[in-house]
Symmetry: C2
Subunit: 347 residues, 2 copies
């Protein structure tokens, strides 16, 4: 029954689904950053033509899905499952985006790990024989997230050096049983790891142990080393979290750094854009992955990428009650080659 | 690739996973209701020994999972995936329950449809060849839900006749590739349906159109009729929603009523327990399903049940912004017989 399992947390896909379309839409600040040329659309209106920021996030997500479907040449009625979620309470950006679309929907909550969580389940649904075409989607909006998780923007609260900037961005991916790649080859499911960080302005430190846990499981389960990959890309650890992660691997005598980067470090220019420790939010990894990374894969600059989106599963209520910030990391292995030209099945 | 698909929204499991363990824990009021003998544990302390209601919900869920694992004779380390979520912002009842458990975790948000959504994905993970043992879990707590969705309890707000009572309850299910049943045979994935209900005290009316949509898809996809089933069980439509649902089917000349019931109508005694339109919450369908329904299946009183949990995907923020209440319904077909003795594969 477990021919697809590798070790304790990893499965490989024996009929790897192909990414046949992707789309992203970002806000003004993201569109001024180093990756500006990799986005499908940049809207300088923080409300995206809507009356509230929450509705704006939903609209941004709707546009990202439309772009992805168009690029894939797939109509809404051909999407057999959509897996998605977001950071808003009750995941309303996603539910309101796809209401009355007629797309069968699995709602997820993985905080900022959602792009990888949704991609993994969308791939499992195809490889498992349940669907030919699926979609994965997520989003975040600086203005909805800040007031929900921290303080109303109008307070003008000062930000700590370890704070990250929630990206205003949405990303969508269309997977198909048939396609020219990149292919989703394997997935390592994250466990919830809590190292008892309590500072809501230091998400990187809270999530880094979960990233270490999942990446360690991936390497153990597959027998691969960091040097076997072109890139290990975490979601939104930012400067603090990325440094904690590479330090944790150093303690295992593993040098991750030459093969490692983080979406939160890629999205903004840390010197010029005043984002402190870097970008964060579901949309951060979604926009970097669906833009810069997939473009680089399609161009052959990257052939084997481990995309490991990270999420902090806390809530303001839990923190007010003295709770800690548990983290999770879901990792997805993407390759340009459908066949197993690497040693993944020999482990 | 789609040998497992039936129609637009339904898949059948070719190696149907078996329910090998289930557990539930409920609060005082639920333990005084007509199903009191079907619960594994009743705790009369609304705080379940914790300092806050949110922590209480997490503790209740932890106990339900422990009971389910014990009954299944399965250890935590043998659970290859846990699918779960709850109603709390950022799904903290579930994340905090399973943190540091080492169980690979997919976080879901399906509001009160979560027991069926998690069961469906847990079954897909096994039937798809990714795991031998999986778990599905959810919960709700009257006191956490009321203050989050409506008003602080201490306000003593008057309840409308259409209002439902959020159950203080948690349920967990352990699935295995091997077992003696009941078996998860098929699943109809819900779409988000919004009929523009705006009254947060009338969840039944908001969710009934989604239940109608999913059940209609199930009947169309499988070719089955209500009379082919021993029971069609919705999650928590309550008195108002159940009546809307049966009326909608009457307009299609389908008489659902003889085969139909709703967890929200079963959990409480509507005459004596002052719950107005009935029970609701993720824990309502979870506790009724893991108790009364599975007991009846194991005893052979029910052999073929369509469990269709329903969720309202709204948020207080969305309603304050003039938003509507979209609904979703996920349906899972359970049978006591592993083989396809019915006509499911002939459609």
């Amino acid at each position: 029954m477990n021919a697809k399992r590798l070790g304790t947390q990893t499965v490989r896909f024996t009929s790897p689904p192909s990414i046949v379309g992707s789309g992203n839409v970002v806000g003004k600040k993201e569109g001024e950053g180093p990756l500006k040329d990799s986005f499908d659309a940049i809207d300088t209106d923080t409300l995206f033509g809507q009356k509230t920021w929450e509705k704006a996030e939903s609209e941004m997500q709707r546009r990202a899905l439309t772009v992805a479907l168009d690029k894939a040449g797939v109509s809404t009625s051909e999407v057999q499952y959509l897996f998605g979620g977001d950071l808003l309470n009750q995941c309303i950006a996603t539910s309101y985006n796809i209401k009355n679309s007629g797309i069968p929907f699995f709602g997820l909550y993985g905080a900022c790990s959602t792009m990888a969580e949704s991609l993994a389940l969308a791939a499992m649904a195809i490889d498992g024989g349940y669907a030919s075409r699926t979609a994965a989607i997520t989003s975040s909006h600086f203005s909805t997230a800040e007031r929900q998780y921290r303080a109303p923007l109008s307070y003008g609260s000062q930000r700590t050096p370890s704070a990250q900037w929630t990206a205003t961005a949405a990303g969508a991916v269309i997977l198909s049983a048939a396609g020219k790649g990149p292919y989703v080859k394997a997935h390592t499911t994250g466990c919830v790891v809590d190292m008892e960080i309590k500072d809501a302005n230091n998400m990187g430190a809270a999530m880094a142990p979960a990233a270490y846990d999942t990446l360690s499981a991936f390497f153990a389960d597959t027998g691969l080393k960091p040097s076997d990959l072109d890139l290990v890309l975490t979601g939104d650890l930012g400067r603090v979290g990325a440094s904690v992660l590479t330090e944790l691997f150093k303690m295992d005598d593993v040098d991750l750094e030459p093969y490692y980067n983080d979406c939160g470090l890629l999205l903004f220019d840390s010197a010029d854009q005043d984002v402190h420790a870097g970008g964060s939010g579901c949309g951060c990894s979604a926009a970097v992955f669906t833009g810069h990374i997939l473009n680089s894969m399609r161009a052959g600059k990257l052939n084997r990428v481990l995309f490991a989106a990270t999420g902090a599963l806390h809530s303001p209520t839990a923190l007010q009650q003295g709770g800690t910030i548990p983290g999770i990391c879901h990792a997805v292995l993407l390759e340009n080659f459908k066949e197993e030209r690497y040693a993944l099945d020999l482990c």
